[in-house]
Symmetry: D3
Subunit: 139 residues, 6 copies
Amino acid sequence: MAITYITRRERFSAAHRLFKPEFSDEENFRLFGQCSHPNWHGHNYELFITVKGEVNQDLGYVINLKQVSQIIREGVINKLDHKNVNVDVDFMQGKLASTENLAIAIWHQLEKPIREAGAQLHCVKVKETENNFVEYYGD
Amino acid sequence: MAITYITRRERFSAAHRLFKPEFSDEENFRLFGQCSHPNWHGHNYELFITVKGEVNQDLGYVINLKQVSQIIREGVINKLDHKNVNVDVDFMQGKLASTENLAIAIWHQLEKPIREAGAQLHCVKVKETENNFVEYYGD
Amino acid sequence: MAITYITRRERFSAAHRLFKPEFSDEENFRLFGQCSHPNWHGHNYELFITVKGEVNQDLGYVINLKQVSQIIREGVINKLDHKNVNVDVDFMQGKLASTENLAIAIWHQLEKPIREAGAQLHCVKVKETENNFVEYYGD
Amino acid sequence: MAITYITRRERFSAAHRLFKPEFSDEENFRLFGQCSHPNWHGHNYELFITVKGEVNQDLGYVINLKQVSQIIREGVINKLDHKNVNVDVDFMQGKLASTENLAIAIWHQLEKPIREAGAQLHCVKVKETENNFVEYYGD
Amino acid sequence: MAITYITRRERFSAAHRLFKPEFSDEENFRLFGQCSHPNWHGHNYELFITVKGEVNQDLGYVINLKQVSQIIREGVINKLDHKNVNVDVDFMQGKLASTENLAIAIWHQLEKPIREAGAQLHCVKVKETENNFVEYYGD
Amino acid sequence: MAITYITRRERFSAAHRLFKPEFSDEENFRLFGQCSHPNWHGHNYELFITVKGEVNQDLGYVINLKQVSQIIREGVINKLDHKNVNVDVDFMQGKLASTENLAIAIWHQLEKPIREAGAQLHCVKVKETENNFVEYYGD
């Protein structure tokens, strides 16, 4: 009866912008700084998805990592990679494209398919640059 | 009365294979994919051992890191580095050589000597590739 | 009502030495090994400061990361970078300059200003080398 | 009379798109794949600028690294960071925003100010992702 | 007329062993140390393939990186990943499975297809561990 | 007749200071900035030593990497690690403790023993921080 935590890293390169559409560029700059630049900027995001569960004695794993990777790609990476977070991503519509909101929205994309595959989503970590990252544990 | 967590990274390069000896190569491939390749493959594993405890006011540390490193080398690294996980490692005999089982087995190798050295084992993290790692906290 | 954890990495290069002033060089060497070298040595320290809080629905963040960075620089980095931890740093006076004590002292430097800025300090992680790091959670 | 090579890393986060304006989205996709996505994507670019020269016996360096960093920031980073490579950057106007063209254009931005500062530009390396980078040596 | 160098990183995890079949295990250990362990060990190898050529003014690149990646995968990665370098790899038959020989053999696998694709192979770099790598430039 | 380049990474943690003893602290600060801080600062230096030579057909290598590592440790690392570059290191006496001078001095420490071991020293690379490094090729 051993609970282990398994983490899979995936990556996506995307454009985004922090802004509120009801505000002027000046007001957005005051709130969000250079991240509000109207012509977009972008990042190589790194995504660390941690799932937990009991190790199946027969197979030596909690869940097949290939399957975890496939769930992440279908639910998240294919929608974000080489895309514009604000414009192109269905699960980010109507939300500020911050790393915090991205982590929360990715949790809601993955929680159910991970559960149906027999494990439990534990943490979504989104690393925006080598100096900044956000973690969300579902609370 | 301050509890700190100290992590030491060690590394080992080893061969392994995921398979059940009672199954054919075809069945093993169906279960474990290319990780079941009969002639072995291998990894540069990274091991992150986290211990916790109160900081000794007189010495400024919980436990001497040199001692932690020595415990890890004696109990784990010397048995795994430049070895075959399935064939050569006493504490992995009879177990599937998965990263999950490796993390759990390493916990049981280290829990007692770390305790006897005056600290408490908190986490064993085994990083198999830059995209995959497993954590075990003893539960 | 979503709690997220945001981590900011900052860096500082500093000299230090592990030793007790009341002991001889030989006794210090016996206790702290080469880290007690009398003419100092040094490191490129990496500091990971994790804060937590509810995401502000209007702004998409818990706390402005620029502000977190500024608090860390004013309270910690400016006092440590290109300095001698033992000699120059006010908040380390009278303490052994270990990574453990550094993490705890940095916590006490940052806890209040982070709180006043509207978030909660969650973890101080000090990475001394690629093989060693210490975490402190305030307990 | 010792020639040394000094490299400074700087970083910028930018949006871009590979496309030819005279082509349709379909034609651009055929040529450039997902990198042609019309709503832009982006990267955390890393820039490695290598300069060479004789070490000044009196000062122990070829050129003050602070000055190199300032030249790179003024000529390149300030124009690219949190910007759109295709839309916002004067020295990329009329050019395909490829990593190759970016490296060549950055060379032409930096060659003269580095020379006037007393060193010689040796290499511009632009790293687009952890898997791809381009080097240009001025030939 | 600008010559640029483009580098693509690919990875493979493989088992290997340094030994001469005509020697005893003891003699091989004396020559190759723990790398000669009879039951194999393994690595996460990183491969950096650098090609050079003139930038096509019309397309902004020397060669399509997707094509470079495909050539490397077909000629090298598919034969090495999750395999045993000594036993499974056609282009390593009869050779000592050293990093040096691997780099040279990979050069001969890639030189012709890279040339036929319109670029010139410049360097094969094989990184065995974070502390060791070998480069071969075709001479 | 294949020439390969083999690189070995070693690390050392040291204190140093950039200053000219005949100048005042103010003058040194004007010349060297915060690197001239009188109470020292320090770094985790990374050293990349590249040697070249023909691959021995019988042994599959140019030179035994263990031997390269031993030469670097004896001639360089043991003198620098956990030391003060300005005060403790015989081969840096009377020199400004800059990364440039360090790279040149390390070259002169290693050139002869590498040659006597049957290979040729090609490059000494000293990485001071993640943003700065110096290379010296013996010219």
